[in-house]
Symmetry: D3
Subunit: 228 residues, 6 copies
Amino acid sequence: MTHSIDVAARAIAAAGTEIRTVSGAFGPLSIEGHFDEVIAAAAVVEQVRDARDWSPDGIVIACFGDPGLDGAREASDAPVLGIAEAAFHAASMVATGFSVVTTMSRTCIIAEHLVQRYGFGRACRGIHGTDIPVLELEDCNGETFEQMVQVAEQALERDRSGAIVLGCAGMASACQTMQQRLGVPVIDGVAAAVTFAQALATLKVGTSKRGDYARPLPKAYVGWRGWD
Amino acid sequence: MTHSIDVAARAIAAAGTEIRTVSGAFGPLSIEGHFDEVIAAAAVVEQVRDARDWSPDGIVIACFGDPGLDGAREASDAPVLGIAEAAFHAASMVATGFSVVTTMSRTCIIAEHLVQRYGFGRACRGIHGTDIPVLELEDCNGETFEQMVQVAEQALERDRSGAIVLGCAGMASACQTMQQRLGVPVIDGVAAAVTFAQALATLKVGTSKRGDYARPLPKAYVGWRGWD
Amino acid sequence: MTHSIDVAARAIAAAGTEIRTVSGAFGPLSIEGHFDEVIAAAAVVEQVRDARDWSPDGIVIACFGDPGLDGAREASDAPVLGIAEAAFHAASMVATGFSVVTTMSRTCIIAEHLVQRYGFGRACRGIHGTDIPVLELEDCNGETFEQMVQVAEQALERDRSGAIVLGCAGMASACQTMQQRLGVPVIDGVAAAVTFAQALATLKVGTSKRGDYARPLPKAYVGWRGWD
Amino acid sequence: MTHSIDVAARAIAAAGTEIRTVSGAFGPLSIEGHFDEVIAAAAVVEQVRDARDWSPDGIVIACFGDPGLDGAREASDAPVLGIAEAAFHAASMVATGFSVVTTMSRTCIIAEHLVQRYGFGRACRGIHGTDIPVLELEDCNGETFEQMVQVAEQALERDRSGAIVLGCAGMASACQTMQQRLGVPVIDGVAAAVTFAQALATLKVGTSKRGDYARPLPKAYVGWRGWD
Amino acid sequence: MTHSIDVAARAIAAAGTEIRTVSGAFGPLSIEGHFDEVIAAAAVVEQVRDARDWSPDGIVIACFGDPGLDGAREASDAPVLGIAEAAFHAASMVATGFSVVTTMSRTCIIAEHLVQRYGFGRACRGIHGTDIPVLELEDCNGETFEQMVQVAEQALERDRSGAIVLGCAGMASACQTMQQRLGVPVIDGVAAAVTFAQALATLKVGTSKRGDYARPLPKAYVGWRGWD
Amino acid sequence: MTHSIDVAARAIAAAGTEIRTVSGAFGPLSIEGHFDEVIAAAAVVEQVRDARDWSPDGIVIACFGDPGLDGAREASDAPVLGIAEAAFHAASMVATGFSVVTTMSRTCIIAEHLVQRYGFGRACRGIHGTDIPVLELEDCNGETFEQMVQVAEQALERDRSGAIVLGCAGMASACQTMQQRLGVPVIDGVAAAVTFAQALATLKVGTSKRGDYARPLPKAYVGWRGWD
């Protein structure tokens, strides 16, 4: 999974961009529920804390639930983008309404919470589970691909949508093929987040350090190295 | 802090109720930002996972940001209540509008996100930071108390509110005194959550195991013991 | 109807609690529309006015439309809970989304207005009429029960809900059986309201007397004894 | 009060229109809180029930809280308009944002609930209490008028509003003078409701009898003559 | 089209009202998309600018997308009403929920944007395209009429609506017949807007000239005569 | 104005990008109200129609009201971005809340409508007019700049915002200096829109041609060359 995300990021990044893909030091092999998400979020902010040592110009959280996004922004002066967030922004720029095609039905609620939180409640017209387990997406063969196409076509029809958002980092490799097949914009969040992070770097705009994204307060931690 | 929460919980629990107050195995000594919150959430779900061994009838997450609430509900058959959530519910039962008096201004946004997520956007008319650090609340002396009263009185006036929600578990001991002083209902989330958890136990209602709160899927974890 | 409500309330109340169940002095035998509701609301606030004589510690309005709730709160220093409100609160504590199973389809709009007013617009995913007349619920025999179960099962499926709220006081007796049958939390508002009223009494929190719930202004009434 | 409403209605009605102004058979002399409102609503639907005998072409509920509006619509085939509702509609047709100037501050919440319920949440930018008791409006002398003008001017400024809605039937007589004084549209709900009721009659559009506004179900009532 | 709008307006206007129906000097013969809409809006405000010469007491924009409404209000002291807006207001006065039956499915989004902007998001329960081209409505023969009736009947059922709004000025002539056929209020926006404009004229209320509807600032225009 | 927009766009575009800056063939010299906006929108879609001849990879509408955005998207296969939209997206990626500093107070409502329409209702915490006429921004001298800084500082304080959006294309040249002065991210929409358009081109994502953004229907136009 980490490898295919790395491939997707390198494929889209501007020439000369250095990409470093890191995995959390602890956590689940895939995120398919709230419990997994909470642990992954902690692993994410730990990586962001450690990234201070090499000062990236932008950070992408490559999981569709955007785990730990606010905490990561506190811990970073550079812009931080979640891939769900980035995909929603991109889709809303090219269609009045879009649909999300994701993995397990039980995780639809995570995407729904993000949609509401980010303000895409009207642009996002439906979130559809394929019930393909995340780890089966890694080798996205013909059958899995056809299943995704079918759910996407139904979503476009039922939701009157004009674009599809792929609701899992593991779907990145299928993006261009699916776009040709469906004839509508198909957005992969990994690629979207990388290009938007580069856009923000070009704009010389970092994460605001005024207000709730100011650096974490220095503080004693137990059993874990904190911010300091 | 853990001790004063324990005192507050025991003071309100029905006769015969066994209260166990546990701290996370890792994490910050206080939660004053998104970064702290993310780590605390992981520590919370770990405790809830381990609580399977002794099957509590109800679980209370005694931090006003309700860290890890959804993950904890996945991991528990018994009802799980956050203290922010419980306080909002209680306040909305006794006043048309309420105001929150909390600690650091920068954490107001965490409460605001919860308010929106839980649907209290109209009932909650204002969230006010006192900028008293969490750990100073432990010995809530006269000066600290007066500062809280002053912020609460201004909030009632400006927000046209009818009740006050205390936005930190550390404020629990001041609750009754403040209610007498202000002449309006003052809600401490720890007490509210304990009584509501008991109400749900009386109703024989547990956390739904259908849909997104179903038990976590069995899954390999790296560097941390997962659900299994 | 009044008798079965009394039974449901006594069954759930804490030991030593005195329960008094009163009917309005005037009004319809059942509430199945806006017109009935308006008259019932007046009968409710009259009872609450008269309850001053015996100072209850909490008041429950045992009709799913919560008729006269705001007026009753003005007229009471003790907490006042509607059973729709209480059921929504309880359901939102144990499931991300819930569905309401109620009586006549034409009264669904009353529940929908309450859902919006109370802020449960996202948590409540559907309101479903069984078109069983209210008074037929009194002897909730096998056939009526099966009809309710069927509507509830469809609601869980279509709405992707995790819990069921029973949308009529007359359904109280079926609650536990239905919960076992459906395998999800089933909430009866009468029981929920009684336990929450007790929770508020334990918290020593009454209806706010500041703002719009302050006692009614002394005032001349024609043809009806007013507040004084 | 009833007399001045009658005057306002006759002044605006089309030539040849018969106006009948009736008071409730029971209830408070003025409505200044939820309790009064609940009783007044019952008195209103009783009058609407009795109006079947003389089949009016339109009905106006001349109290700014629109008490009993839904119940009245069930009980009437002709259109029924509340004066708050009518005033909000009219104001939104001539200004992007409007402010409400009403009587007691404690009743602002009633107007706020209506604003939300009817969908004017963005158009209505503020609701301002003058704390003039309703019955003092009857002889709206110079001092009372100046007080209303002052609150209205502050409201226009603070809310960036373009129009004023008068939040009490008792303010009707001051409407034209205030409009000249303020230089912005000033809407009196009684006049607005009468003209809109006439517009609907011209359109040959009555209250829908499909769905929740269908006539009340025949039903036994206790202590009060029901619908039949 | 312009002729049939003229007929509809004259049929409903009060005796003695002078009706002038004008077409834009440029623009599409029908509006069936955003592109057409933008051009039509410019043609509308040009006509409103020129109408200053003959000072109408009220202006109706007789296209269901309400093109140029805000600009027209800036350019007019008299009230200006769009027919979509007027129809939504009227429908919400006689039914708790209504459905819109319009022409091309692709223009539903224009109506949806208006619904949200005007605050009818809860009252409007569905917008349904018949995919009848606008210009075919002119001779609304039996077949076209039956198609509209069928879509309307399905809409009432699926949306649980109590009234129908006709989503095109070209449907005006079918309004009364459809109302008889469906047995629910059917609203034609042209007629609704004319009666509401007359209501506002009766109320002596014009477009607010304070704030964003104040007359346009004097300003140099290139290639088009501006406001001056 | 057109020249300074051209400079801002070229400064931020990737190496090798060809920038063509065009003005409308007709319309106001500046946009300071709804009336100006409607005419400008028509001029915009005309330019987009004509741009088919040279097939740009992306189109930016460089006016903060995003005039004609939906119409332009219909008329273009390439992505189209408004500068208000782009600025809101960028700001929401680096701060929890942002404030807009714009020109005339009377145009704040235009920005407010966009904020609501695009879903930034919670992220955008305030829109503040400086009442500097648009054309005075062209030579943004010391005094004008100080005025903008002052309004921005007050906005950050009052709105508890973490970033500033510049609400006029004419403010572009001041962006970097203001960012240094204020110490928070300051977003110029022209630069934001250019970088986002490049991001979408990199993603190989164009405007959806399914649904309401499909190419305009072929159609007769009067007095203006239509789409064909």
